[in-house]
């Protein structure tokens, strides 16, 4: 039943990567949150920049949520899959 064990590892790796992607997007969104671009130029320019940065922050947040949800879904799969090949048993221990 090594195949199932390998699949658990593969799905767990998938979840790990997606967690990493979630962290990247979350950090990126946070870096935009504290910006105050209201004085980057004349009012119409500042408004356009402010608006689009807010949109970008929301999009990054949505990508982070999507990645995080996917990672959790993969972890549920990894947990549900039977780990039928333990690396050690009670009998193995001295």
């Amino acid at each position: 039943m090594a195949g199932i064990t390998v699949l658990v590892d593969d799905v767990t790796q998938l979840a790990d990567v997606l967690d990493g992607v979630d962290a990247e997007f979350t950090a990126a969104a946070r870096s935009l949150r504290d910006l105050t671009p209201e004085d980057v130029g004349p009012p119409d320019v500042a408004k356009a920049v402010t608006d689009v940065l807010a949109r970008l922050e929301r999009r990054l947040g949505a990508l982070a949520v999507e990645s995080g949800d996917s990672a959790r879904a993969m972890r549920r799969h990894a947990t549900d899959l039977p780990d039928t090949e333990p690396t050690s048993t009670a009998e193995d221990k001295p």
Partner: protein
């Protein structure tokens, strides 16, 4: 020195430090997007573990997600370049603005400098126009980024797509294991009644066995014709099915009793007593 006081207007409004903060954040966002995209792309690249038709939905979902991230990344890069262009223009205009403000301030109270004052005010007007054009370009870049962000598909659901994909792979692996396990078990049971299985298996798999030289020819013959060997080949190398003889010969080989090693079927059942006895006999 406030430019409005001497020039009548500020021809180049904008806070450079604020623009720099925006530029720095955009660079961080681009790096984060690129890093995330590379991680996703690595999951489905040439070295990916997710290969073959059964894993295709997983690959498709991750590829689509990577493409969406790439679209945002490219759009943010374009916008960051527009901000950088705006910054470059802002620096130049504000530097010139400071020079003109200084010059015109020194002309105050000098009626003979009216022509020079007018020349400066014309240049200020040109600078204001230039600033407006630069601002319009940045507004356009903002609109372009907003459009891409709006176009990025909100209906996509990576979690659901991956969930379905992994479920399909799990089912396929379960089926494969069930199928192979039955074949292997049947093969092991069959072989246990024919010959020294451990030696035969090593021959079948192309691994040199530790059989005595006198046994080598018999082992090779056994590996090539035995019904059990054929079934094991079928289980382990399913594409070898074409190598099976039309009619499998009857298994009539000696039992393993005197060879020392326990049959695989015995080992599968957890019975290693024969092996222990054999080891002692050596």
């Amino acid at each position: 020195m406030r430019p409005e006081r001497f020039l009548g207007t500020d021809p180049a409004p904008g806070d450079l430090s604020s623009v720099d903060r925006v530029g720095g954040s955009l660079r961080a966002v681009v790096l984060a997007l690129a890093e995330a995209r590379l991680k996703v792309e690595a999951l489905v690249g040439a070295q990916s573990i997710w290969q073959g038709p059964i894993a295709r939905p997983i690959v498709a979902a991750l590829t689509e997600f990577g493409a969406r991230v790439r679209a945002v990344e490219d759009a943010v890069v374009d916008f960051a370049q527009a901000v950088e262009t705006w910054r470059t223009g802002l620096v130049g205009r504000q530097q010139r603005r400071a020079e003109l403000t200084e010059t015109i301030s020194q002309l105050a109270g000098r009626p003979d400098a009216e022509a020079e004052r007018q020349r400066i005010l014309v240049e200020v007007q040109q600078m204001a126009t230039e600033h407006t054009v630069g601002g319009t370009a940045l507004i356009t870049a903002s609109d372009d980024l907003a459009e891409v962000l709006a176009d990025v598909d909100d209906d996509s659901d990576l979690a659901a797509d991956l969930d379905r994909g992994v479920t399909a792979v799990t089912v396929a692996v379960d089926e494969w294991i069930a199928e192979s396990a039955a074949e292997l078990l049947a093969t092991a049971e069959s072989l246990s009644e024919t010959a020294g299985l451990t030696t035969v298996v090593s021959q079948i798999l192309g691994v040199a066995g530790d059989e005595a030289p006198d046994d080598a020819e018999n082992v090779r013959r056994l590996a090539s014709v035995s019904a059990g060997a054929h079934r094991l080949r079928l289980a382990l190398r399913r594409s070898w099915a074409s190598l099976a003889p039309d009619e499998l010969p009857s298994a009539s080989f000696a039992a393993t009793g005197g060879r020392g090693a326990a049959a695989i079927s015995d080992r599968l059942r957890g019975d290693t007593s024969d092996s222990a006895q054999g080891d002692e006999a050596r």
